[in-house]
């Protein structure tokens, strides 16, 4: 699987998580920021973080939690942790 495919898969999973947390079918893209999405507030962010941690099996650091402000940073953080986990294997 190419990195592009993997990134697309991660985006699809993140979109599913975000829609489930927001409880509606919001339009999301690779550049969507939380501020652009009605209802994506700190409460939603907490739940999104929690679901991502459960799905991918890592924990966000404190600083990382505060960086969760949209899809771009989420993709980056997930990629970072995934790469670190693979490197550790």
């Amino acid at each position: 699987m190419s990195s592009t495919d993997a990134s697309a898969d991660v985006f699809a999973e993140l979109a599913t998580i975000i829609r489930r947390v927001l409880n509606r079918d919001v339009e999301l893209s690779l550049s969507t920021e939380a501020a652009d999405v009605a209802g994506w507030d700190s409460h939603a962010t907490v739940e999104i973080i929690f679901e991502i941690e459960e799905r991918y099996g890592f924990q966000f650091s404190n600083n990382e939690m505060e960086e969760v402000d949209g899809i771009p940073n989420l993709l980056r953080l997930v990629a970072t942790h995934t790469a670190a986990a693979q490197a550790a294997q």
């Binding site: 507030d41 700190s42 409460h43 962010t45 739940e47 929690f50 650091s61 404190n62 939690m65």
Partner: protein, 351 residues
Amino acid sequence: MTPFETDQRSWGWTAAGSATDGWPPRGDAGFLRQPRADATQPRCASLYSTAAFLTRWETPCLSRRGRNSARGWHGTRTQEPESTTADKSFGDDHVTDKALAPEMAVEPSPQPMPSADTGPATGPDALSEVELLDAFESMGDNCEFGWFQKVGGIDRLALFKWSSAPLSILADLITRGLPGVDDKQYLRLRPEPRDNGNAEYLLEHSLLHTPMHTFVLVGSVPEAVALDRVARRMTLLSRKFLQDAKEAKRIYVYRNPAAPCVSDVMRVHEALCTHGPNRMLYVHLPTPDLAAGEIRIHHPGFAEAAIDQLTPYEAATTILTTMWPDILRKAYAALPRDAVAESFRVAETCS
């Protein structure tokens, strides 16, 4: 439209004289007041380790209710000592560092103040409005400050910003590392009607003794699912709170129009300080000895401020005052992170 709404994106700060040149701050505008000098306190006493510490801070509480109050704080009657020269503002009499309470007598730092985070050193005037808001975190006692931050662009992941936990409970739980705050046995949801005809699940937290907003609408998800979500939020937010407290990055803000005793609020600060060199700002309505807009430093990490208005509990999302930015800027100047951390290091070394 509230006064805040008219001015929410451009606060138009006009207060002069912020202290950006080290510790302790001494503003040109004389807005800072210092605590009573107490030469009997040992220089190296651990900042929160002695009974004398709490005794010392009983007096400011008494003064709030008046010297001849029939019932002082904690049900006792205590005579307030005569004021000293140290009761005057920095700007009025140019009191030196050495006139401060001993633990306040920290040498001025040659370094400029750091930003709220670990970014380049900067003073409060150099921070944008959002950056300044980002330097603080609400501890209650209602939603006002959390809401003020949110409207200003900072929607922090914070455990206590939508809560009103009693001070004694807060202090105890924070000291013990927030055990059980995410335990479902302490969580109960109850529907709370909203003005628009909807209802929100309000969290009744029996351990924190406080209701908390969940912002989950009744009917949007089954109650059991909502409770799961709330419990997970508490897990993550308590984890984050403790990490934040350890890193001591932000200034915790507690506001309360009922003006509880300063020493009670300081116990929460003391609890925070068991995790790191934290800073706390206590905001209440004006008193005879602290006018609106003034800040009094009680401790290298603790300041008290008076604000002209605080929102009532039934309308906590309506910000009544335009004074918050000014208060925050002063507090940011009065509680520089590096100097506070250094004072803690000194105290730990000497204790």
